[in-house]
Symmetry: C2
Subunit: 223 residues, 2 copies
DNA sequence: TAGATTGTTAATCGATTAACAATC
DNA sequence: TAGATTGTTAATCGATTAACAATC
C-alpha cells in the first residue's frame, strides 16, 4: 500500500484542528463505508460533498488538514481513505469502553451494534443497583461503582459512557476522572465539569428535539 | 409579566439565526433550569458563560439575536428567560412525536423521561414486527408503518424519531415525509436525503465515540 | 450615588468558498 | 493529449471577542 504524504504531526505545536472538521471527518468515513458497500472503488470531493451537503472545496480542505490522500484527475480510493481517516480518528484499533448506568438507555447502548462496527467494545459496565451487580448483561460483567479504578486499570479502559440520571452524573464523572479515564461521552442532561485533560462529548436527547422544534417553528415561511 | 422588547420577527426576511446559536440556546435553557432548581432567581451572562465554558459576550450576543431579555445592572431573571427561550425554541407547547422502530434504542427512548420534561410526548410508535403491532408499549400504541399518514394526521404529529436499522432508514424517512412530518430526528447511521422543507437532526452514537477517540489520541501532549 | 451588567458597535479571528496551477 | 480532479492560495464570509455608552 502506497504511503501518502503527511502533515505536521498532529501531536505537535500548532496542530489544533477545529472541532467541526473532526466531526465532518466521521461523516466522510461513514459515507465512504457506504460507498464501498455499494461497490465503489473510488470517489471524489464532489460526490462526497453532494452526499453530505457540503461543497467540494470543503471536503478537500478538511482532508488537507491531515495530509494528501487524493489523486489528481482520479479522486480518492475509498478503502485507502477509509484507512487514513480511521487512523486519524484513532479507530484503527479497538477501544474498550466503560459503561456507567444500566437503566433503559444504558442497556440499549450496550446492545447497540454500531459501536463494534466502528472499533469500540463495551468492556465493563457499572451500576449502583445491588440486583444487577455481579450479573452479566449482553455478555458484559456488571461491577459496583467502587471497583471503577480497579477494572478500568485492569482492562485498559480510556473511554467511558455516562448513562445515569442527571443528579448523579457529576459524581460519576468525578469517579471516572479519578479512575484515570481520558474521555467521557455523557448522556445525562447536565454540563459536566471535567479537568481540561479529559475530553468530553455530550448528547442531550431532548435538546436534539428542541433543535427540530425550533427549525419547524421558525421555518422561513411559517409564522 | 413584563413583555420585553423583540427583534425582527424570526419568520421574516433576513432572520437566519446560525445553527450554533440555537444549539447554545438549548444549553442556556438547561442551565437556567438547574439554576432555578438550586433556588436562584437571577443570573447573568458571566455566570451562564462560566457554567457552560463560553464568554460572557457570547451569551449576551446569542440572546440579542432574539430580543432584549436582561436588566442592566441586574442580569437575567431566570424564570423569565426560561419562558422566553422556550418560546423561541417552540417548546412553550407540547409536541406529539412519532417514534419509528421499536428495537432496543426505540424502546429505551420511549421510556426516556427527559423528553416529557422538555415539552415532547411520544404519541404513537411504528414498527414492522407483526408481534409488536397492536400492542401498547409504555402506554403508547404500536401501529404498522402503513398507517403512518393516517395516525400522523389524526394526532397532529409534526416531528418524528427514526430508530430503525440503517438499511431501512431512508425508506422510513420517505414515508414520514409523505405523511407530512416536518422534522426528523435520525439515529440511524446514514445521511438522510430529505426535501428542504423538512428539518433533520442526526445523532450517530458511534460518531460521538469517534470524536472522543480523536481527542484522546490527538491530545496536545500525546503522540 | 457608585457599582454592576446589559445590549450593541467595532475589531479580531477563524472558517468557508472560489479559483487555479499542478498532476495524473 | 485532453479531461478530470486534486491540493492550496487568496478572497469572502461569518462568528466570536473586546470595549463601552446606556441603564438600572
Amino acid at each position: 500500500m502506497d504511503e501518502r504524504k503527511g502533515k505536521p504531526s498532529p501531536g505537535s505545536p500548532e496542530s489544533a484542528v477545529p472541532r467541526a472538521v473532526v466531526s465532518r471527518l466521521s461523516l466522510y468515513l461513514r459515507e465512504l463505508q457506504h460507498l464501498v458497500n455499494d461497490g465503489n472503488a473510488t470517489t471524489n470531493s464532489t460526490q462526497l460533498g453532494t452526499l453530505l451537503g457540503f461543497t467540494d472545496a470543503q471536503v478537500r480542505k478538511d482532508l488537507a488538514n491531515f495530509g494528501q490522500f487524493g489523486y489528481p484527475g482520479v479522486g480518492y480510493r475509498c478503502e485507502e481513505l477509509i484507512a487514513a481517516i480511521k487512523k486519524i480518528l484513532g479507530t484503527d484499533r479497538f477501544w474498550p469502553v466503560a459503561m456507567v448506568g444500566l437503566g433503559n438507555l444504558g442497556r440499549a447502548l450496550l446492545r447497540y451494534r454500531g459501536f463494534g462496527e466502528q472499533g469500540f467494545r463495551i468492556a465493563a459496565t457499572f451500576d449502583v443497583d445491588a440486583e444487577k451487580i455481579g450479573n452479566t448483561v449482553e455478555g458484559v460483567e456488571v461491577f459496583p461503582l467502587d471497583r471503577l479504578a480497579e477494572v478500568v486499570a485492569a482492562k485498559g479502559i480510556r473511554l467511558a459512557i455516562v448513562a445515569v440520571p442527571a443528579a448523579s452524573a457529576q459524581a460519576v464523572a468525578d469517579s471516572l476522572v479519578a479512575a484515570g479515564v481520558e474521555g467521557v461521552l455523557n448522556f445525562a442532561p447536565v454540563t459536566l465539569a471535567l479537568p481540561e485533560r479529559v475530553s468530553r462529548v455530550g448528547v442531550d436527547l431532548a435538546i436534539e428535539l428542541e433543535q427540530l422544534s425550533f427549525a419547524v417553528v421558525n421555518r422561513p415561511e411559517n409564522p
